[in-house]
């Protein structure tokens, strides 16, 4: 009970601190609108990236035993454990135009740091592990007997994966994707260091809230409340879908 209260009270204080009239006025502010747009588009792209690139990795991690599996597992944990600003510095040192890898990209005329690509990369770096770990656990728990039964009936590996493994691990996959998206939405430290902060280009909602839109606390509160509503809405929806289908 105290824990529930502790989690609940700050959120109530946040909503109570917002004035509805200013809330609506701030929504019309182009800087606020662009922060919302950038946040939604970048988090959707990083979610897609996490799921598409993360699923094979999760399958490997959850199903196969191989030498170095423990090390790989720990490596995937690292971005979740690192302070986000450390992640940002690491990304800058790797992919910035003077970076380990980035200098070659720079020679080819490709620049990543301070662009919306950098926003997506920063989000993916910190959020993908959340999906991968959850998906790996989900894949690992699928009953092999069911898969083998399907293959005995003539299903290929791909068909087995698509029709048996994937549906059976659906809850873990959706939970992982939701957590990953939520983490990406709230990402700040790595973003501001690697992607920088420019309204309309790289300023996501968390950045806009922090910088306080030219010291205007009311605009920051508006965005905070909006972030809260969007997060709550999506999580509620996802939980509803999960409970209905299970």
């Amino acid at each position: 009970m105290p824990m529930a209260l502790f989690l609940f009270v700050p959120l109530v204080a946040l909503v109570a601190g917002a004035e509805p009239a200013r809330l609506l006025a701030n929504l019309g502010d182009p800087a606020v609108a662009s922060a919302i747009r950038i946040s939604l588009t970048t988090t959707l792209v990083s979610l897609a990236l996490s799921v598409v690139a993360g699923t094979p990795l999760a399958y490997l991690l959850g199903r196969r035993r191989f030498r170095g599996r423990g090390a790989l597992d720990t490596l995937i944990d690292l971005p979740m454990v690192l302070p986000p600003s450390v992640a940002g510095i690491a990304l800058l040192l790797a992919f910035g135009r003077r970076g380990l890898f980035g200098q070659f990209l720079d020679d080819a005329g490709v620049s990543i740091a301070f662009t919306s690509v950098a926003v997506v990369l920063a989000q993916t770096f910190v959020a993908a592990p959340l999906f991968v770990k959850s998906a790996a656990a989900g894949f690992g728990e699928v009953d092999r007997d069911l898969e083998q039964a399907a293959q005995v009936d003539g299903a290929t590996g791909a068909q087995t994966f698509w029709h048996i493994t994937l549906p059976l691990s659906r809850t873990a996959l959706i939970t992982g994707a939701t957590m990953s998206w939520a983490r990406a939405l709230g990402e700040f430290g790595a973003t501001i260091i690697f992607a920088g902060n420019v309204i309309g280009r790289t300023q996501t909602m968390p950045l806009a809230i922090y910088i306080g839109l030219e010291g205007d606390l009311s605009a920051a509160v508006t965005l905070s409340v909006l972030l809260l509503i969007v997060s709550f809405g999506v999580l509620f929806l996802v939980k509803g879908v999960l409970h209905r289908r299970v």
Binding site: G96, A113, F114, G196, N197, I211, E214
Partner: protein, 275 residues
Amino acid sequence: MCARHRQAGIDPRRLAVCAAVLLAWLAACAVPSAPPTELTVYAAASLADAFTELASVFEAANPGARIVHSYAGSNQLAAQINQGAPADVFASANTAQMGVVAAAGNVVPGAERIFARNRLVVVVPKDNRASVRTLQDLGRPGLKIVLADRAVPAGAYALDFLTRAEALPEFTADYSQAVLSNVASYEENVRSVLGKVVLGEADAGVVYTSDVGGTARDKVARIEIPDPLNTPAAYPIAIVKATKHAALAERYVAFVLSPDGQAILARHGFLPAAP
């Protein structure tokens, strides 16, 4: 003695005696003398190095005092103080943010004193691959420039500089716009601006001259901004009204304004309080 229990359960009387002895011993050990008085100083990010030195000199001269700092962009500190953060002293990088705190009634009106001044300077990476040599070069398309966000004093001062430059014949009429379209990031504190230039990720940045002292000196090259274009940043310091250590806070502020304090600030690249 307390760990042995021959019957089921621990004898509560024994436990109480053990606990009392332990507590008394801890109390005796932990408080040999009066605890130090902690003074919390909220200071702008650009003051970090100077204030660390000021604190160690002040603590040496005032045994029993301990200075604790919080460094951030002045706008963030002002917002925190107005929300009741436990600061005793506020040192801001511009009078506007001190005004924000004063307007909310958190410093005694008129009690603020200017304790240092600062100037802006353009910095470029040491190897200057983009060949930025003059202020006019900043407007060249394709550069990556980093400024502090306008909400942060250093950012506001930088925007002032651009506006003033535009009015001069040596600069094009769209100088300000040309430079701003080169900005790759508006950082939330001026030290981050310097960091990105040092890393070479930005071709140029606008920081304070005080930021280029110390370790950064060898890592960047400077392009001076002449006086007519340079906004002399005035740093005010004031005691927060809600302080519980008014006497110590006054001594601290007096020290900062004293010749010794001013000498320390000068060593870190700040200009004296009096112009």
